[in-house]
């Protein structure tokens, strides 16, 4: 359902943190076009900023010659966002749990957790250089 009306918007950025704001306005405008509620919009925005920041910083190590690419796949019932970097990837399971009391006072390590908390599904592909996130308009059928 909705496959036929899928629209794909692609944004590709040089790996500089200065462009995170551009990413933010693109996501905000796409979410305005779709019919997500305001709270959901903020969650998606946050997840994309986290994933974009990771792609630029950890993946591409802010090498301006490397690109972070964002695909927004707009369907009637959901938004799928695919983030790809040109880095070496990482293993999700090796990342420490930021909610573990011994990690609570660390100043980093909450990005993946927040992404996963904000989206309906987050999957890691191609060794972690591709992250696919989905948010449904309403709770998906069981």
């Amino acid at each position: 359902m909705g496959e036929r009306s899928e629209q794909v918007i692609t944004l590709s950025l040089p790996s500089s943190m200065q462009h995170v704001y551009l990413l933010d306005v693109v996501v905000s405008e796409i979410l305005k076009e779709m019919d997500f509620g305001e709270d959901i919009q903020e969650q998606i925005n946050l997840a994309v900023i986290e994933a974009g920041t990771n792609a630029i910083k950890h993946g591409n190590k802010e090498d301006l010659g490397k690109k972070a690419t964002f695909q927004f796949i707009l369907a009637e019932d959901r938004l799928t966002i695919v983030i790809e970097d040109e880095g070496e990837g990482f293993a999700r399971q090796t990342v420490a749990d930021p909610l573990d009391p011994e990690n609570l006072l660390k100043s980093s390590g909450r990005g993946l957790f927040l992404m996963e908390a904000c989206m309906d599904s987050v999957t890691y592909e191609a060794k972690g250089t591709i992250i696919k996130m989905v948010k449904y308009k309403e709770t998906p059928d069981p």
Binding site: D24, L46, I49, T53, P98, L99, L105, K106, G111, L114
Partner: protein
């Protein structure tokens, strides 16, 4: 992001507005570090550093912004002071709740209460 610095007695209040993400989170960290630096230099004279972060006009915060709050908490504690949060909007509040950081920060809804909270402790 815009940050405005004010003093109320020995308390420093930062009124923060806009987006605390990306390079702006870094900028906020630098501003707070400077306050810590200044307090460090004064500590010999017995001055503590107490910070109120007024987040009322923060539209968006990401994990790096959150990291700045936590780092501020840690370095200010080292100076015998505390960081308290003022006027959490819905977004920022749910971010802090999600990250289980409510136990670390005292949060207030008015400046007077925040100041009283710091004075009491």
């Amino acid at each position: 992001m815009q940050v405005n610095l004010r003093n109320k007695g020995s308390i420093t209040i930062l009124d923060i507005a806009g987006q605390v993400i990306g390079t702006d989170a870094l900028a906020l960290k630098r501003i707070i570090d400077e306050q810590v630096q200044v307090a460090d230099n004064h500590t010999e004279h017995g001055e503590d550093l107490n910070l109120i972060l007024n987040l009322e006009r923060v539209q968006m915060m990401d994990s790096s912004g959150l990291g700045v709050l936590v780092a501020a908490h840690t370095s200010v504690r080292r100076n015998n002071g505390q960081v308290v949060l003022l006027n959490l909007g819905g977004n920022v509040r749910s971010l802090i709740v999600m990250a289980k950081l409510m136990t670390i920060f005292d949060c207030y809804d008015s400046e007077a209460e925040a100041i009283a909270g710091i004075m009491k402790s």
